[in-house]
């Protein structure tokens, strides 16, 4: 096994005492704690880490941070496989397993690299110009080929075995980024006593301080860092969150963040999530996210070995890895020279410095001569040499003279772009700063300030000053008084002049603007030629900036090249828009625990356990689980169970939990008046102790909901709603009261969950009830007739409500007791009913009985139907105003040929019916113009011994007796049916009154 040939013997922030072994493409390597996957691979001399998207070019590291476009790997394997993972952001752990992606058969030999040869044809947008003939070949041939070649890594194929959770945090000051600016801000704010949260995407705090050799207050910056972190840790209101990326800024100071809780271990420890999605509610925030270094576009700028100069410093200083043995620096500004110094410091050979500026500062000249580097002033790198790794470059000086140099690392520096992404998440447009030649934050979102490099103030001194000042301001704006400001720490000197160059025109070879998506300078030229000159057109046409790095290293170059093409200034060419998230966020972290059975809450009725004991099969109805049917061993199948339940109820007595119905308690001297206004029928006339069926409309005249409402006292009503509309009706009633008629004296509260309610139905139901209703309550037919509704007691003083209402059409009651008594009520009823053969029935049997009686439910109250459509027009009072009254009169709502509720039954009694079929005339073609309506509900009636159905048929009531077809083309069935009344059973309703 290799021994990390490029690891420096000393220095850096890796823990040489802790060696971690890992695998890349099946081969084993060693690294250290404190490494990233990228630094560990580099230490082992692995330069080739990925392949590009289109041309499958060999690629190595460009960066050491979140902007990495090249070194994307599939991390872990199997169900934990995580595609497109930036090696620069992966904290090394023992037994880490990573695989290169988007190559076949191997990273070194990738067949699709032939795309590079076809390169001349595969220009930007080539696919818009071809693959059109013959038309049918697109889906069959061209597209599958494109799809197979496209894409990057492979997603896992199996359920993610890890957990994710959501968390919420509230603070006075959120600091984003724990570099010098962020740490200063957190420290100043934290000293005020404000609740501070400081997040950093890295696993080590310090930002660029970790990568640079700098001094603060005359000592190594590491000392300041250690002191500052120690003080922050000592402040009880400061929360430090490493490994946490703040990815988005949403309205009113809400920040989305993702904490990588267990990504730095192979498998999350027990009870720990892999990641945690945070919503951070911050009164104020300081963005101190630093800056990202910019590359230069030149031919062959994508070879492994061409790296950002700041990244080279990070690998050398933080990770103690020498990215190459012979370096050349290519820079357009002072910051590239820091790399010369730092490389020399660790004994690396710096062969040359190519500075595009003609004037070189004396201190740089002396640095170069000290380290023995040739200096090419006013020069550029025109080309590179090498196959899968950099072997040399060609330098061109101002006179056009070319010099070939051997090197295996080219460190490129072209200034920095502020990491201002979050400032544009609320549509803020960055503005061009001519002096620093970069976009800086424009109008800031409320509550956010920007410190240090993120604001285009790139020196360490500025970062420390900004951080202290803005941390102080943020805390004070959040209400925390501050002691007098202390002077910001001093730093060593720093040269930061810059004269960026965007591209070097070469003679041949591809010069990449967007490395991941393989967008070249030629592509930008082509886009300009074809009129795709708006920045957004450029992006969309060439795919520039659309890769997983979101153009962090390419957007500005693209813009600059387009500016060059159109002869405009960069600021007149456009700005780049940064959309959230700042870096890609795992779907799992956004979903948290909401998956599998926990996707949505489960609501259980108060009698659920009893139903389960009875062997119920449950059905999802919205969030509720309701008993669908109660199979017995003796039942042949589902239908025989349902038939048994129906026949037992109609022949004796059955019970069914109806607790899911919405229940709303209304009280007040105007409660009756209020009901008059929300229901279409009359309510003031309802006597105390009586229930009435009510229908309410939406204001647009269509039916909203129905249910029975009972008058329990002069000023006290209890409304029931359908299960599905319980919340909606409650909200509607509150609206009617609070917004429309606040002067009405009425108050309402939902009591849906407070009561367990059961339907006791069938000719023996009264006898069963007598067994549990306290004797002082007379429930005889005379004393407690149809539609009676009263507060009573059961089981020796347990408060209860009894309603003589019936969905089944039988003599029936609904009995409600406080929810906690629900199970006891069911057991008591079962005991009391044993002698009468009492049978629990579920939703399916209930549905059969309600269809037999032509009662409507959600299938009919589908929001598209009117009172007239339901055959209930006569319920509408003309003596009062009510919600929906006027809009229900619109011409199209009262047209006679509207589909109207009818019943129907098969001519051939042996045939079954299906929901969703459409009505088409007997000898009519199956065409839309012959569509006369549709089927809403069907059931097999064990009483009638054939199938029955409800549906809406044009001009339905006038067509009773007519034959028509129920056509179900998607299920290949067609049944001739006879239209009939929707009431199939006990037309006169005599059983109700029994």
């Amino acid at each position: 096994m290799s021994k990390q040939p490029l690891r420096l013997p000393n220095g850096g922030l890796v823990d040489r005492a802790r060696t971690l072994s890992f695998r890349f493409d099946g081969k084993s390597y060693d690294g250290h704690a404190g490494d990233t996957l990228a630094s560990a691979l580099l230490a082992n001399g692995v330069g080739l880490m990925g392949r590009s998207f289109k041309y499958h070019r060999p690629r190595g590291l460009l960066s050491a941070g979140p902007e990495e476009p090249n070194a994307l790997v599939e991390l872990r394997a199997g169900a934990r496989r995580e595609p497109n993972t930036r090696a620069t952001m992966v904290e090394l752990f023992q037994n880490l397993e990573a695989t290169s992606q988007n190559r076949w058969p191997s990273l070194r030999f990738d067949v699709l690299s032939v795309n590079g040869l076809a390169g001349p044809a595969l220009v930007a947008g080539f696919y818009y110009k071809t693959f059109m003939w013959p038309a049918a070949f697109w889906e069959k041939l061209y597209e599958p080929l494109i799809r197979r070649a496209a894409g990057l890594g492979r997603a896992a194929e199996f359920e993610d075995p890890d957990h994710y959770e959501k968390a919420f945090a509230f603070c006075d000051v959120l600091v984003i980024g724990a570099g010098p600016a962020g740490l200063s801000a957190a420290l100043t704010a934290g000293r005020s006593g404000a609740r501070v949260i400081i997040c950093d995407e890295d696993f080590q705090l310090g930002g660029r301080l970790l990568a640079e050799r700098r001094e603060i207050d005359g000592r190594a910056a590491a000392d300041w860092l250690a002191t500052t972190l120690a003080e922050l840790a000592s402040l009880s209101e400061v929360r430090i969150m490493p490994r946490t990326s703040v990815y988005g800024l949403y309205d009113h100071g809400i920040y989305g963040a993702v904490e990588r809780v267990s990504d730095h271990v192979a498998v999350p420890p027990p009870h720990q999530p892999r990641q945690r999605g945070w919503r951070i509610y911050a009164k104020r925030a300081v963005l101190a996210a630093g800056a990202l270094e910019r590359p230069i576009v030149f031919a062959g700028n994508d070879l492994p070995g061409v790296m950002l100069a700041g990244a080279v410093r990070a690998y050398v200083n933080r990770f103690a890895v020498l990215p190459g043995r012979k370096a050349v620096i290519f820079t357009s500004g002072d910051s590239g020279w820091a790399t010369v110094r730092d490389l020399a410091e660790v004994g690396a050979h710096v062969a040359a410095v190519v500075d595009s500026r003609s004037e070189i500062k004396p201190e740089f000249k002396s640095l170069a001569s000290r380290v023995g580097a040739r200096v090419f002033a006013g020069s550029v790198v025109e080309a590179t040499r090498g196959g899968r790794a950099l072997r040399g470059i060609t330098v061109r000086d101002a006179s056009g003279k070319r010099t070939a140099l051997a090197c295996d690392i080219l460190a490129v520096s072209n200034g920095w772009n502020p990491t201002l992404h979050l400032t544009s998440h609320q549509n803020g447009k960055p503005v061009w700063d001519e002096e620093i030649q970069a976009f800086v934050p424009g109008v800031l979102p409320p509550g956010l300030s920007v410190a240090g490099s993120a604001a285009g103030r790139f020196t360490l001194a500025e970062a420390l000053q900004d951080g202290a000042r803005l941390g102080r301001e943020a805390a004070s704006e959040a209400g925390f008084a501050m002691a007098a400001a202390q002077p910001a720490p001093t730093t060593d000197a720093e040269a930061s002049e810059l004269k960026p160059i965007w591209r070097v025109k070469g003679r041949k070879g591809k010069a990449f603007v967007d490395l991941q998506n393989d967008v070249t300078d030629k592509d930008v030229e082509l886009a300009a030629r074809e009129g795709f000159r708006s920045v957004e057109h450029l992006k969309r046409y060439t795919t520039l900036g659309m890769a997983t790095d979101q153009g962090k290293t390419s957007n500005l170059s693209g813009l600059a090249l387009m500016a060059e093409q159109t002869g405009k200034a960069i600021c007149d060419t456009g700005t780049t828009t940064f959309r959230p998230p700042y870096t890609p966020v795992a779907i799992g972290a956004l979903a948290g625990h909401h998956r599998g059975k926990d996707f949505r809450p489960v609501r259980l009725t108060p009698t659920h356990d009893w139903s389960r004991e009875q062997g119920a099969v449950f059905l999802e109805t919205g969030q509720w689980l309701r008993a669908q049917y109660y199979p017995k061993f003796t039942d042949k199948d589902w239908l025989s169970t349902v038939n048994r339940e129906v026949l037992a109820t109609r022949g004796g007595v059955g019970i069914c939990d109806v607790s899911t119905l919405g229940k709303i308690d209304l009280q007040g001297t105007d409660a009756a008046e209020f009901l008059e206004r929300v229901y279409i029928n009359a309510w003031k006339t309802l006597p105390i102790g009586k229930a009435r069926y009510g229908l309410m409309l939406r204001e647009d005249g269509f039916v909203m909901d129905d249910g029975t409402t009972s008058r329990l006292g002069e000023n006290h009503f209890l409304m029931t709603t359908t299960t599905i509309n319980a919340t909606k009706v409650m909200q509607h009633l509150e609206f009617c009261h609070q917004v429309l008629w606040p002067h009405l004296d009425v108050r309402m509260v939902s009591v849906s969950e407070q009561w367990a309610q059961v339907a006791v139905a069938g000719p023996r139901s009264r006898e069963v009830l007598r067994g549990i209703v306290d004797a002082k309550h007379d429930i005889s037919n005379e004393a407690f007739p149809y539609l009676a509704a009263r507060e009573i007691s059961v089981g020796g003083g347990i408060p209860a409500r009894l309603f003589r209402i019936s969905f089944s059409g039988e003599l029936a009651y609904e009995l409600a007791v406080p929810a906690d008594y629900g199970q006891a009520m069911m057991r008591a009823l079962m005991a009391a009913g044993q002698a009468f053969g009492i049978t629990p029935y579920g939703l399916d049997a209930m549905s059969v009985m309600r269809i037999e009686k032509g009662h409507v439910i959600g299938s009919e109250l589908n929001g598209q139907t009117t009172v007239r459509d339901l055959g209930l027009a006569k319920m509408m009072s003309s003596k009062k105003d009510f919600i929906g009254r006027l809009m229900a009169k619109r011409e199209a709502l009262v047209q006679s040929d509207r589909p109207t509720l009818v019943g129907f039954k098969p001519i051939d009694k042996g045939k079954s019916l299906s929901g969703g079929a459409h009505f088409v005339g007997i000898r009519r073609a199956n065409k839309l113009e012959n569509d006369e309506g549709y089927v809403t509900s069907v059931a097999y009636s064990p009483n009638l011994q054939h199938w029955i159905g409800l549906g809406f048929l044009k001009n339905g009531p006038a067509r009773i007796g007519e034959r028509i077809r129920a056509v179900d083309l998607v299920r290949n069935s067609e049944v001739e049916v006879e239209i009939c009344s929707p009431v199939f059973f006990d037309h006169e309703g005599t059983r109700l009154h029994g």
């Binding site: 309205d251 909200q731 609206f735 917004v739 105003d881």
Partner: protein, 91 residues
């Protein structure tokens, strides 16, 4: 987004449901005309800028709130209980 409920304090968007433009007044009573009702039901203000709108604090105090909010920036200027609002606050 957060809405400062006058009863419950600053609460997350997801506790609320939205109705929309608060300006139309329901033409109550039997004398109301179909055309006035049509305007009430179907025509809403839809400005790019300040809008007085109705929100329901369904996961909180169940109050209907009149919220004056900018539809372009989402900035909220005022929140009052709907039954205490003065009409035309956005104007």
């Amino acid at each position: 987004m957060r809405i400062a409920c006058p009863h419950c304090g600053l609460r997350d968007l997801q506790e609320f449901t939205y109705l929309g433009d608060a300006s139309p007044s329901r033409p109550d009573g039997l004398a109301a005309t179909e055309s006035a009702m049509f305007d009430y039901v179907y025509l809403r203000e839809n400005p790019r800028g300040l809008l007085e709108e109705l929100w329901f604090h369904n996961a909180g105090c169940r109050a209907w709130l009149a919220v004056c909010r900018d539809t372009l920036t989402h900035t909220i200027q005022s929140v009052v209980p709907a039954n205490k609002r003065k009409k035309g606050a956005a104007a």
